[in-house]
């Protein structure tokens, strides 16, 4: 079922890439322009997606015969948990300017460790030390302008 849906997604993505590529300017001196490779890739997506979809069309037949695709609650919970690192990155992107890298990273690590049942004291200690070390290495040794945020108040 997943492969069937992914195949459909590739067909749609291929169609979009192909249509967008047609809008790229052509070069007067040459019949091949900047649209050639994206168009081929879009076409490839559609063909590959179609092969994948046809190969798993049995999944569709199963649904038609009354079999429904219902993932187990455990499966859904694991899928949601797997999104945690992605959410942590979104949190960093949105708040790092204001909170500063050190505070932001420490909060992310603390929460992620607590979720996997690390003892709060250990999680707190490791998060603070690791955030300070990362900040020190990147901003002082590699001279990366990481946002200081709240900590800039203390200079």
């Amino acid at each position: 079922m997943k492969d069937f849906l992914l195949g459909l997604a590739f067909i749609v993505a291929g169609a979009i890439v192909y249509v967008v590529a047609q809008g790229f300017p052509t070069m007067p001196s040459l019949q091949y322009g900047p649209s050639l490779f994206p168009s081929l890739i879009g076409g490839g997506f559609m063909i590959g997606g179609l092969v994948l979809t046809i190969g798993h069309v049995g999944a569709l037949k199963g649904i038609a015969h009354g079999l429904t695709w219902r993932p187990a609650p455990e499966h859904i919970r694991n899928m949601l948990l797997s999104l945690l690192p992605a959410l942590a990155i979104v949190f960093y992107i949105l708040t790092s300017e204001w909170l500063g890298t050190t505070v932001c990273l420490a909060s992310i690590m603390f929460v992620l460790m607590l979720i996997r049942r690390t003892s709060p004291i250990l999680a707190f200690g490791v998060s603070i030390v690791a955030a300070l070390v990362i900040n020190q290495v990147f901003s002082h040794y590699l001279l990366i302008p990481l946002p200081e945020g709240l900590l800039s108040v203390w200079g």
């Binding site: 797997s82 992605a86 992310i108 996997r116 690390t118 990366i144």
Partner: protein
């Protein structure tokens, strides 16, 4: 001679040696913790190496990858969980031996075989690549177009599992490579009005996303944390190794040769080298029945193959700029960013850099012996490191590492999006290596195609006008037709067998 001395000076200085030692420890650690791969180690290392001189930067990558591939055997032996995918082929065999109380003996053999394989691959690299580079000097855009296409084709046909999925994965990488200003017309493609995307998708955040964030998401999506060492014995590390090597020296040589060859093929890395070498060792063994019950023969084959594969992958990477595996794909990205274009000119420019690189390979494989020995003796420390504490720290490294390349938050977004996409694809058995090769080779493929077309006024037949170019072109076409030819051959053999069965 001057160049060689320059190379020695580039390597034997305090900074480079310190970097090699630190990278070796880092490599052992990442390899020995299940779930952290050698490619992930290199991807995490890149933001730091980015600020180093070329020699220590490459030394760090070479040492880390070689050590991580060996160290992947440690949890494989004790826990039956491969530390890196390259150890997966013989993990069952190693664990069986550990259960018999021969864990350290197995790892000692692994260590020596890994070192031998690595040195064997390095010797091939040293002796073959300069001559290949002389041939490559004759290459023009036509040959490079076919070489890039050959690399991409191999990445599909060598991949394990569905070829359709490998093809789609490759196209994802190629699509990412088209983002940015077009080389010929200067027209922006898929930039969505974001200025940071004008120069193209930055390579390193994509790597971190595909190999680190993807693994992190997999970790949080599973409940597998508790690990207990069931078999912890105190047998001797090296006592039995000479006996095994005397008995299985052919396997050692065969594993190393197969590993180097497979490593040199684009798209196939240490993991595929180990699988193929193990399977070949088994099929040619006199004790075929002993395989799977804790037989050291298969381990000799495969553990020499995965480390020689790591060295072999550098041959096409250095000579043609075509990466042999995901790790060299990252290295090529790093070299480009440092303004050094991999290709035959690296060998011809003189200077000590290429000698420094060869020396680094030897040191990386030799340092494996003492550090590997300590790692085997203290295996418990590595394999019981709690991942619930380690993974959040790695995530933070990923975020800051992606940001550090260009000091822009756009790269963090790129890491997030590609990591998320890679997670979905990898969960559905899409291989990631073709996507990386697509990203690295996409620009080479397109630029060489376009410049060839400009030279020949759009005549497609010009791709077959030069002898080497025509040869490469025929090779690519044969690779594409291979599945069809194989099917026809099987069909023909099947019908002829049926026919002969019917004739009295």
């Amino acid at each position: 001679m001057d160049a060689f001395l320059q190379g020695l000076a580039l390597v034997f200085n305090f900074q480079t040696l310190l970097v090699i030692a630190a990278a070796a420890v880092f490599g052992v650690f990442v390899g020995a913790v299940p779930g952290l791969t050698a490619t992930m180690a290199v991807a995490l290392l890149v933001p730091i190496t980015f600020y180093m001189d070329p020699t220590p930067a490459i030394a760090a990558i070479v040492t880390t990858s070689a050590m991580a591939i060996f160290a992947g055997d440690i949890p494989g032996t004790y826990l039956n969980i491969p530390g890196t995918p390259a150890s997966a082929a013989y993990v069952g065999e190693s664990h069986q031996l550990a259960r018999q109380g021969r864990a350290r003996e197995t790892l000692g053999t692994n260590l020596i075989c890994s070192m031998f394989g690595g040195l064997f691959g390095t010797l091939i690299l040293v002796f073959v690549s300069p001559s290949l580079a002389e041939v490559a000097l004759q290459f023009s855009s036509y040959e490079y177009f076919w070489l890039a296409l050959l690399g991409l084709s191999c990445s599909i046909f060598i991949s394990i599992g569905s070829k359709t999925k490998a093809f789609l994965s490759l196209l994802v990488g190629l699509l990412l490579s088209t983002v940015g200003l077009d080389m010929m017309s200067g027209a922006p493609r898929f930039t969505f009005g974001i200025p940071d995307l004008m120069a193209g998708v930055n390579f390193i955040p994509v790597m971190i996303g595909m190999f680190a964030l993807n693994e992190l998401m997999g970790f949080y999506g599973s409940r597998n944390e508790g690990r207990q060492v069931t078999a912890m014995h105190k047998d001797k590390v090296f006592t039995q190794v000479p006996r095994h090597l005397r008995r299985y020296w052919r396997n050692l040589l065969r594993g190393s040769s197969i590993g180097t060859l497979i490593g040199a093929l684009p798209g196939a890395g240490a993991d595929i080298a180990a699988w193929i070498s193990y399977a070949m060792g088994k099929s040619r063994s006199k004790n075929r029945d002993a395989y799977g019950t804790g037989h050291i023969e298969g381990i000799v084959d495969a553990s020499s193959a995965n480390n020689s594969g790591i060295s072999g992958a550098w041959v096409p990477a250095l000579v043609f700029g075509i990466p042999g595996d995901s790790i060299t794909a990252i290295v090529i990205g790093v070299l480009y960013m440092k303004g050094m274009n991999p290709g035959p000119t690296i060998f011809m420019e003189g200077g000590g850099l290429i000698y420094a690189l060869f020396i680094v390979f030897f040191i990386a494989n030799l340092i494996m012996l003492p550090i590997g020995y300590v790692a085997i003796r203290s295996a418990k420390v590595f394999i019981l490191t709690p991942r619930k504490i380690l993974m959040p720290i790695i995530l933070c490294f990923c975020i800051v590492g992606a940001f550090a390349i260009n000091n822009t938050i756009t790269d963090v977004w790129i890491m997030l999006i590609t990591g998320f996409g890679a997670f979905i694809l990898a969960r559905n058995d899409f291989p990631m290596a073709p996507a990386i090769l697509g990203l690295v080779l996409g620009t080479t493929l397109e630029n060489n195609f376009m410049s060839s077309m400009l030279k020949s006024n759009g005549d497609l037949l010009s791709f077959f006008s030069r002898p080497i170019s025509a040869g490469l072109g025929i090779m690519v076409i044969l690779i594409w037709l291979l599945p069809l030819l194989l099917r026809l051959y099987r069909h023909y053999r099947g019908t002829s067998r049926d026919h002969s069965a019917r004739t009295p």
